[in-house]
């Protein structure tokens, strides 16, 4: 096999992204017949920088959360990494290969699971579709049977794979989709909202499975999800993207310390009827405990005041929920005046 790209060594990242850009040209017009006719003569387009010069490395075996609001550029990035989209600029390698070349060897080593799309045959049991994947990925029968049985056991879908896919619930379908996507034992997993629309129990099961797959095979995982529980459970590192640019790349704990503008103080008083509004915003109160939201820089001073002025039975200081932190990060992206103009209109 001819090799015209470097083979990754043990110290090389599994994924390397350098100044990656993707620009779409999108037609647009105002509503109404007049504008419809006008657009026949004069076509108006908008250039959208979906991904605007992002760079990061992901080490082999790392599980990274890729976060951002809708339209941030997450899925576009994942598609470029999986070879479905050509980058407009910049460079990227996955397992040493250039994804846009879509070489068979590269495609045999990755998978992209999209929570809102299914690839299994609708009308037949998933077990039959698995056979098709065996043939496509040229998996020897013995290895195929071992992997299939292992994945089926891990996701507890023994009964489900014998039913036609159309008869499965959304969560059941997602589980068998994941089995189908991993039969070739990919070394890099791109998971785009794998738990979307699933109930809490099913979400937990899929999280546990991804963690186990990563542990067992040392696979690299890049995960997008709107459910922060997915990210907290699986990812030590997160990359936050907004308007096609990276706002944060680092540890999950670092995200809170850098972006959380406040902390929460949980106070248990001897007399729980006392009003603590003077110390901070009361965001929760029950029979025993009052939860206050206070500015992060004021936390020490307010805690000291509470302890000295009130009869405190117990006190805890916590970072805000990660959902709130992410909201703050996204809001900081919206407000960041340093961001260049992303969209240019051309006709």
């Amino acid at each position: 096999m001819p090799e015209d790209h470097p083979v990754p060594g043990p110290a090389d990242p599994a994924i390397r992204v350098v100044e990656l850009r993707k620009t779409f040209v999108v037609p647009e017009r105002e509503a109404g017949l007049k504008h419809a006719i006008r657009s026949l003569v004069r076509r108006r387009t908008r250039q959208v920088n979906a991904v605007d010069g992002i760079s990061f490395d992901i080490a082999p075996g790392e599980v990274v959360g890729f976060l951002g609001p809708n339209g941030a550029g997450k899925t576009t990035t994942l598609k470029m990494l999986a070879g479905l989209l050509y980058p407009t600029g910049g460079g990227l390698t996955v397992l040493g290969a250039t994804p846009s070349r879509r070489e068979k060897d590269f495609l045999s080593r990755i998978t992209l699971v999209m929570g809102n799309r299914n690839q299994l045959e609708w009308d037949i049991p998933a077990a039959d579709s698995f056979e098709l994947n065996r043939a496509i990925y040229r998996i020897p029968p013995q290895a195929f049977a071992e992997t299939r049985d292992e994945l089926v056991e891990l996701l507890e879908v023994g009964d489900l794979v014998r039913k036609p896919v159309r008869n499965l619930s959304l969560g059941e379908r997602m589980k068998v989709e994941i089995v189908g996507s991993l039969l070739h034992r990919p070394q890099v997993l791109f998971l785009d909202e794998p738990t979307i629309g699933l109930d809490v129990t099913m979400q937990k099961r899929i999280r546990a499975f991804v963690a186990e797959y990563n542990r067992r095979y040392g696979a690299t995982v890049l995960l997008t999800s709107h459910y922060m529980a997915d990210v907290v459970a699986l990812c030590k590192r997160v990359i936050v993207i907004h308007h096609g640019r990276i706002l944060f790349d680092g540890g999950l704990s670092g995200l809170s310390s850098r972006f959380a503008a406040y902390k929460t103080i949980g106070v248990t008083l001897d007399d729980p009827t006392i009003d603590l509004g003077a110390y901070g915003e009361v965001i929760h109160r029950d029979d025993q405990k009052i939860t206050l939201r206070v500015p992060k820089l004021e936390t020490s001073r307010i805690t000291a005041r509470l302890l000295s002025e009130q009869a405190v039975a117990d006190l805890t200081i916590e970072d805000p929920p990660i959902e709130d932190v992410i909201e703050t990060v996204f809001a900081s992206g919206e407000d960041d005046e340093r961001l260049p103009e992303r969209e240019k209109v051309s006709e």
Binding site: M1, E3, V7, P8, G9, P10, D12, A14, F24, P60, G61, T76, K79, A82, G83, L84, L85, Y86, L95, G96, S100, R102, K104, D105, L107, S108, R109, I110, T111, L112, M114, R117, Q119, E121, D123, I124, D128, S129, E131, L132, R134, A135, I136, Y137, R138, I139, P140, Q142, A143, P164, H184, R185, Q187, V188, Y217, G218, A219, T220
Partner: protein, 291 residues
């Protein structure tokens, strides 16, 4: 087993063992057989619907058959060299050829792109045309089983006259798959226009109109005016309908039978070449725009 197993040729990523793979040729045969089994399983899920679909499809050739048989009788027993019995044979074989000719259409391409199915196929290390060729080939086995009773009833009703040679029968079975390949490739070429416009249906309708006239679908080609037969010789359509039908009905000489297979091979080559180049351009376009 070791003789048919190869490795990828690239070192695995750190910490991951490289995995053996089945040999390339064996895996391709395996893929086609598995696709065909899958198609058969899917089609048997819808056997009743399929049957009604086929019965509905019979209406078209029966109308042609009744009309042309009447014309033949009114002109003293034959028209354009076809007797009513030969028209019956022509249009009964037509029903099988038509079913073999059902392939993935541009409508399917529109759906495939709009629903993101093509993206899923592009993630796999195999050209998507193999899915379509294998899958629709598998469907034909179901079609054949369903077609036999229909052919029997039509034969009882219309008394076909066939005079096939041994070579003609052999060529017919090869030509059926040649027709299937030509039409599959033609539809792929049309379908790939979806990479540039999502409304390829209009072009597809034009194709169907030309095919109806110049393929032998509407009427045996020998009944067309000379100029139309001349035009048909420069188009692929007759090799997907008229040629396989006439091979079995017994209307072709040995030379014509062998030339016909050669023409089928030529059009398969042309179709495959066009697909090779258009696919590369189309996929580049698709990957730039995305879905």
């Amino acid at each position: 087993m070791s003789a048919v197993v190869e490795r990828s040729g690239r070192p695995a990523a750190p910490g991951l063992p490289d995995r053996p793979r089945v040999g390339r040729v064996r895996s391709m045969v395996d893929l086609y057989l598995t696709e065909m089994r899958t198609a058969i399983a899917v089609q048997f899920q819808y056997r009743v619907a399929n049957y009604f679909y086929m019965i509905g499809m019979v209406a078209e050739p029966v109308i042609y058959l009744v009309v042309w048989s009447s014309v033949a009788r009114s002109q003293g027993g034959a028209v354009g060299g076809y007797t009513p019995g030969e028209f019956a044979a022509y249009y009964i074989v037509w029903t099988l050829v038509r079913n073999i000719n059902i392939v993935f259409t541009p409508y399917g391409w529109e759906w495939r792109i709009q629903k993101g199915q093509l993206s899923g196929q592009l993630l796999r290390p195999i050209h998507p045309i193999h899915y379509d060729l294998g899958y629709f080939a598998g469907m034909k086995f179901v079609v054949l089983v369903l077609w036999l009773p229909i052919a029997a009833i039509l034969s009882l009703a219309f008394h076909p006259t066939l005079q096939p040679s041994g070579l003609g029968i052999g060529v017919f079975f090869v030509a059926l798959w040649g027709a299937y390949l030509i039409r599959s490739l033609n539809m792929w070429v049309l379908g790939m226009i979806t990479f540039w416009t999502t409304r390829v249906s209009a072009i597809f309708e034009l194709y169907m109109a030309l095919e109806l006239i110049f393929s032998g679908r509407l009427v045996p080609l020998t009944l067309l005016p000379g100029w139309a037969q001349g035009v048909a010789n420069f188009l692929p359509f007759q090799w997907t309908f008229g040629f396989p039908i006439n091979a079995l009905v017994g209307k072709l000489s040995t030379t014509q039978l062998l030339e016909g297979l050669g023409m089928q091979a030529l059009w398969i080559g042309i179709g495959a070449t066009i697909i090779h180049f258009v696919w590369r351009a189309g996929i580049r376009r698709f990957s730039s725009v995305g879905n």
